[in-house]
């Protein structure tokens, strides 16, 4: 079912989204390394392409629900960099006025409705967004991203069953990065593939190499088209690697050497670069895209650094619609 051909504009789009994620992640890590930022950060190194190709198959007003390791999804979906950087830094100029942080990035203008810090909790919520679209007939689809670790919590199973029962326009994108926190896939799950679980709910399930740009895009596009056509949800299992620790700075010596070697060989960034060259994009063209992105990263970091800190009055705002009295 996967196409091996792809429109050049779409390929450029996927490359740009991938590199926007990659350069942002690099920038965050450099800010953390140099002490310019001191926050919890879940690096997305290794998963850049999965979300870039997936989000390239969505429209801007389609809904997205993601998790604490979700910067790649948010950036690929289109969340503007300045407020994103400011939010991660806990500044007033952030998407959430500094009240959410990297684990709770929200940006409805680009469809990013929820980023949850609780594993698996996004799936039931995604069903509700999709239910609203189904009742309204607005043609939107909802994508929810989660890791392999999320497939062993009850919310996953309840949500999968309900989505299929009601044929909701939702796409469950499991980014199988082969580790749930510090526990390897084989040590937390006895089936070979997450996608086999789709069968248990009568749902369409597709397993794809998430680091293959064309396969990842066409697989997602097919699921999006099915959902928009009212044919119901799809579970996509996108195979990828989490190339660093659970959070930035965390030890990952528990990953065996052969896994590290396999991961390095499968790095999506050089692989995508080669695909671009194979499609007659020039080195200069690709370098120009990255240089432009780096300038945007520098500007976003500066915006975040200059944005004021939130004042204590923010604690009384947004608890309820009405402000809590001082």
């Amino acid at each position: 079912m996967t196409d091996t051909t792809i429109d050049r504009d779409k390929l450029r789009d996927i490359y740009t989204r991938t590199m926007r994620v990659a350069r942002a992640d690099e920038k965050f890590r450099s800010l953390l390394m140099t002490g310019k930022l001191a926050v919890i950060y879940y690096t997305v190194r290794g998963q850049e392409l999965v979300s870039a190709a997936a989000m390239a198959a969505l429209e801007q007003d389609d809904y997205l629900v993601t998790t604490y390791r979700g910067q790649h999804d948010q950036i690929a979906k289109g969340v503007p960099l300045n407020p994103l950087f400011a939010e991660i830094a806990g500044k007033v100029g952030g998407t959430c006025r500094g009240k959410g942080g990297s684990m709770h990035i929200t940006h409805p203008e680009t469809g990013v409705m929820v980023t949850t810090g609780v594993v698996g909790s996004g799936l039931p919520i995604a069903n509700g967004l999709a239910l609203a679209s189904q009742n309204r007939g607005d043609g939107k689809v909802t994508m929810v991203c989660f890791g392999d670790g999320a497939t062993n919590i009850g919310a996953f199973h309840e949500a999968m069953n309900m989505a299929q029962l009601w044929k909701l326009p939702v796409i469950f994108l499991c980014q199988n990065n082969r580790y749930g926190e510090h526990t390897a896939f084989a040590d937390h799950t006895k089936v070979d593939s997450i996608v086999t679980r789709a069968k248990a709910y009568g749902m369409t399930g597709v397993k794809v190499d998430g680091n293959d740009a064309i396969a990842m895009y066409t697989t997602t596009k097919a699921a999006v088209d099915r959902a928009r056509a009212g044919e119901g949800p799809t579970l996509i299992e996108a195979m990828c690697y989490r190339m660093m620790g659970h959070f930035f700075g965390a030890d990952f010596s528990y990953m065996p050497p052969e896994h590290l070697a396999e991961m390095a060989a499968e790095d999506p960034l050089p692989r995508l670069r080669q695909l671009m060259l194979d499609h007659q994009f020039t080195e200069a063209e690709l370098d120009a895209i990255v240089a432009d992105l780096d300038a945007q990263m520098d500007a976003a970091a500066e915006f975040a650094a200059n944005s004021p800190l939130p004042g204590p009055e923010e604690i009384r705002k947004d608890v309820f619609e009405e402000e809590i009295a001082a």
Partner: protein
């Protein structure tokens, strides 16, 4: 004047809201016509009027029910989740506490969750330890949730309309024993604002602060104590959170004495918060210590004899008021 039961009143409030707004939907186990319109028939007739896409019978999946309602609310709907019994709400705590309550704040006000979670409970029908609890204090401890419980049919109708119209999540607690209670029919369109307590009976010697089914006990005791020459004021909070401190403080300032009464377990209950606030605000004006009466510190027992021993006892309520009135310091 014609009368209306609490069941009819809640049904009418939901019916009116659904007629006005396509975004009002109802999700819950057995709620659709095919399943009989809910275990307590609150949604009777609604599927026929509004369709199965708006009255959705769900699998037994409380996390998925509340989660779907959170998502639909984020998309601009005003969903109502029916969680059959309050103890089953515990299965959905993550969606309620980590998501419904906090998304407005964590998003910096970009999103909000206009959700009503209807649930029922109550001690006195022999349902035992997992079908009877009043867990309002669990939710009152979480910033971002509103908690409502009616004591009569007219309030149930008006509070339900206000809860559905509220732009924040509301936990709406119904008491099984109150479904058959009748009120004078308040008529269509009746709304009782959230956060406003009612003075259920005026008095001058002691205030009983309570809510839900125990308002009935308090009114009965107030009637009996009147024969002894003790004038009791009964405050029905109606909304447990946010707490109508102004109404309660005004009453206790007047009477100088207060007994806080609830069906929930006394330890760490809402009564502790209310008593504490009264002490903080009115210490010099109190003529007696504020006392609390609540359920016993055990699971709710099944056997009727035990259940009656567990539940706040009417004699104990009367004694608490007498003690306060006769307090010599």
């Amino acid at each position: 004047m014609s009368q209306i039961t609490m069941t009819q009143a809640i049904n009418r409030a939901i019916d009116e809201a659904m007629a006005e707004d396509e975004g009002v939907i109802l999700l819950g186990e057995d709620v659709a016509a095919k399943q009989g319109g809910g275990v307590f028939k609150i949604s009777a007739g609604l599927t026929e009027k509004y369709g199965e896409h708006r009255v959705r019978a769900t699998p037994i999946s409380e996390q998925a029910i509340v989660g779907a309602c959170v998502g639909a609310a984020l998309a601009g709907f005003r969903p109502i989740a029916e969680i059959m019994l309050m103890n089953f709400v515990t299965v959905a705590m993550d969606q309620i506490v980590n998501h419904a309550a906090k998304l407005r704040f964590m998003s910096g006000g970009q999103t909000h969750v206009p959700l009503v979670i209807r649930t029922t409970t109550g001690v006195g029908v022999g349902f035992g330890g997992q079908h009877s609890d009043m867990l309002e204090a669990w939710f009152a401890h979480v910033a971002g949730l509103k908690i409502v419980t009616p004591s009569n049919a007219a309030d149930a109708q008006g509070l339900m309309r206000a809860a559905i119209a509220c732009n924040d999540p509301v936990i709406f607690i119904e008491n099984i024993l109150c479904y058959g209670l009748k009120s004078d029919d308040p008529g269509p369109g009746h709304i009782v604002p959230l956060g406003k307590a009612a003075i259920a009976r005026e008095g001058s010697d002691c205030t009983i602060v309570t809510y839900g089914r125990t308002v009935l006990d308090a009114l009965e005791i107030a009637g009996k104590l009147a024969d002894e020459g003790i004038s009791v004021e009964v405050i029905d909070l109606r909304t447990i959170a946010p707490y109508d401190e102004a109404t309660v403080n005004a009453s206790v300032e007047k009477t100088g004495r207060a007994v806080v009464l609830h069906e929930a377990v006394k330890q760490y209950g809402t009564g502790a918060e209310i008593a504490s606030r009264l002490n903080e605000r009115l210490f010099g004006k109190l003529k007696a210590p504020v006392t609390r009466i609540g359920g016993a510190f055990s699971a709710v027992p099944m056997a009727n004899a035990l259940e009656q021993a567990w539940i706040p006892n009417k004699d104990a309520i009367a004694d608490a008021v007498r003690t306060a009135v006769n307090w010599k310091g």
